[in-house]
Symmetry: C2
Subunit: 397 residues, 2 copies
């Protein structure tokens, strides 16, 4: 929690102004701000945006720091899941080191807030959770990390996983995770009843991966809707991916989107070019909370990605065919304030009283900053300088 | 046409080798090659790939070098087309200068061969064609440019356009262009009969933009098939975009893809994340010639893109959900040799006898080079060094 005066910036691409941060919060945004005895950074006219928010990733999975992983994995979801457990054993992958590497790389790109799913399974137990929790402690003040206890290898199909999730929540995970109740776990009732019970027991929210498409995904969504209504968990259950909301049956998807608005179900996307995805414009029109993330990257699942949420903003724009400057600003809202709202952090915004997370980006306009996504000039988290000229100030392990 | 010895490279990511170029062609690839009296470049172990091929772009459209264009354009295709003509007049856009800017930027990213559509319409006549032809002359030996005379504003709907296309072909355009015979031109028979007649008159091929989706696109494809069969134009007619080949009706699209193979119809894609696209894997399996391009970029149509075909290779991989290393190599084939094959240039390959176009890329493997697409170390066109460390050696206007 620090004090900082950022001179000569253009908040969100607007006219020049200064941003004064006191005790980690934005105290004032205006012209010719002055303050004695506090650190000053000259933005040189660069655009200021809020801290980027990676609202869906997997900090424990990346192979950053390892030689290139030659991917020869089979096409099915289960091939990827089984292969990953095997590679983790073979490499002796350390979730703390990997999550430090990824988090600091993300910080260098301007991410100040992350929601990460962390694998909980009967092979490795809770060790990945311990590793990511240690990273969270070490990086407090650089990047905030929210943790979802994630049954990547299945819940009902692998006895003992539910108990591990229970322990994970007791240890301090922030949310209960879930994964394709039908397609992956083959027992949608069992899967959803289990994670909703854990949510109730620990008084924590849920964030469920739902890759199931079209009618199958819609069925799982219905089961989720029913449980939210029955248990009064409005606002507490998020759905990640939600490819079924991007299905071409406009009427059916609109009904689901409207229900997501009614039940306050936040949606998280990673904007994959190869899949149907929930439409940014439609979620915005319906008033659904909407965030985005980089997903796992450079891991056994696939080779793409680098953790850059500004590049992801571009991909989100391309995926939703956003071409106008006002539409690009909508995309950036999703990857900053939108993601923070999904995490119930309404103070993550470039306004007086907001959290002192500011990123200086290169570009004549907000649109240019997004499409070129050049190295970030400065990344400030709660008034502390976390990265400069594209490099984290904390050396990654 | 030059001589050059590239020492210590890894062709396509394989074991170290040298590449000897004589008279603009690859003379030998092997270990410990030596040659007296010719220029030597040390690749420092970097991977060598063939010149990248941008097989679908619009060199006359980009606003490179201008301030950011604030896009407030309406959602329909015709909104974008009408707006563009108006902005061209307002800016006094010079197609020669803009095509120089774009081509040199593309060269800096390793593109050595381009197929560009150039707008022909009753507002500006043939001036854009003259401009791009001048660029082609000036850049010979740096980047090769093939030109499609493109009726962007419509053919049948704007009287006089067909005559202009006729003149364009006589002036030296390489192919006749076309655009959405139904959706845009409202007269599919008239549109296709006109461009096929021009193709026959001038003995040149066709490359038609087909954005029409699903059944409408399939109808236009049928009309194209009929004319190719009737006129014996197998191998002479390419279709760009061909979104209808990505339609979810597997059986109908497979029949179209098989017909594209039978009639030797090359397909060009720009891998847009927001659209259905022809599947790389399915076209490969059917043996359809397949290339890719960056499309127009940083223009009045949209803000995205930079001309980098290695980044486009990544987008092509993401769009087709390619994750395995062998699949990434398939994607790079499309953006190099595949695009050249579409242009009937079978010698564009990293083999003895091939054209001396070599790009040195950064990365431990081919896959890493694609997903990180870092600045190119060296770009060689027909044995001449065209760019180094991400910068064209010819200063752009």
């Amino acid at each position: 929690m620090s004090d900082l005066l950022i001179k000569n910036t253009r908040p969100m691409g607007s006219d020049p102004a200064d941003i004064l941060i006191r005790n980690g919060r934005i105290d004032a945004i205006g012209t010719d701000l002055a303050a004695v005895g506090i650190r000053v950074e000259d933005a040189g006219g660069r655009i200021a945006i809020p801290g980027l928010v990676d609202a869906h990733t997997h900090l424990d999975k990346s192979l950053l720091g390892y030689p290139w992983y030659k991917n020869e994995v089979g096409p099915r979801l289960i091939d990827k899941i089984d292969n990953e457990r095997s590679v983790k054993r073979e490499y002796g992958l350390d979730a703390h080191i990997q999550s430090m590497r990824q988090s600091l790389q993300s910080a260098s790109y301007g991410t100040t807030l992350i929601r990460s799913h962390v694998d909980i399974d009967t092979d490795q137990g809770l060790i990945a959770l311990e590793g990511v929790m240690e990273t969270r402690r070490q990086l407090a003040g650089i990047v905030e990390i929210e943790i979802v206890a994630f049954p990547q290898s299945g819940l009902m199909r692998r006895t003992g996983t539910a108990d591990l999730l229970d322990q994970a929540m007791a240890m301090g995970a922030d949310l209960v995770g879930g994964l394709d109740p039908c397609g992956m776990d083959r027992d949608p009732k069992g899967h959803l009843d289990t994670i909703f019970a854990l949510s109730q027991k620990h008084g924590k929210g849920i964030d469920i991966h739902l890759h199931e498409m079209a009618e199958l995904g819609a069925f799982s969504m219905e089961l989720i809707f029913e449980r939210i209504r029955a248990l009064g968990l409005q606002g507490k259950v998020a759905v990640s991916h939600a490819f079924c909301l991007g299905h071409s049956d406009w009427k059916a998807t609109q009904a689901m989107i409207d229900t997501c608005a009614d039940l306050d179900i936040p949606i998280l996307t990673t904007a994959p070019p190869s899949r149907e995805v929930p439409s940014l414009q439609r979620l915005k029109a319906a008033g659904v909370r909407f965030g985005a993330g980089v997903d796992g990257f450079r891991d056994t699942w696939g080779p793409y990605g680098n953790g850059d949420m500004l590049e992801r903003t571009m991909l989100l724009g391309m995926k939703n065919n956003l071409r106008r400057d006002d539409e690009l600003a909508d995309a950036l809202h999703v990857t900053t304030t939108g993601g923070a709202l999904v995490m119930d952090r309404p103070d993550h915004a470039l306004v007086p009283g907001g959290r002192g997370d500011v990123v200086l980006v290169e570009g004549e306009t907000l649109g240019e900053a997004i499409v070129t996504h050049l190295p970030r000039r400065l990344v400030v988290t709660a008034g502390n300088v976390a990265a400069r000229d594209g490099a984290s100030l904390m050396v990654r392990p």
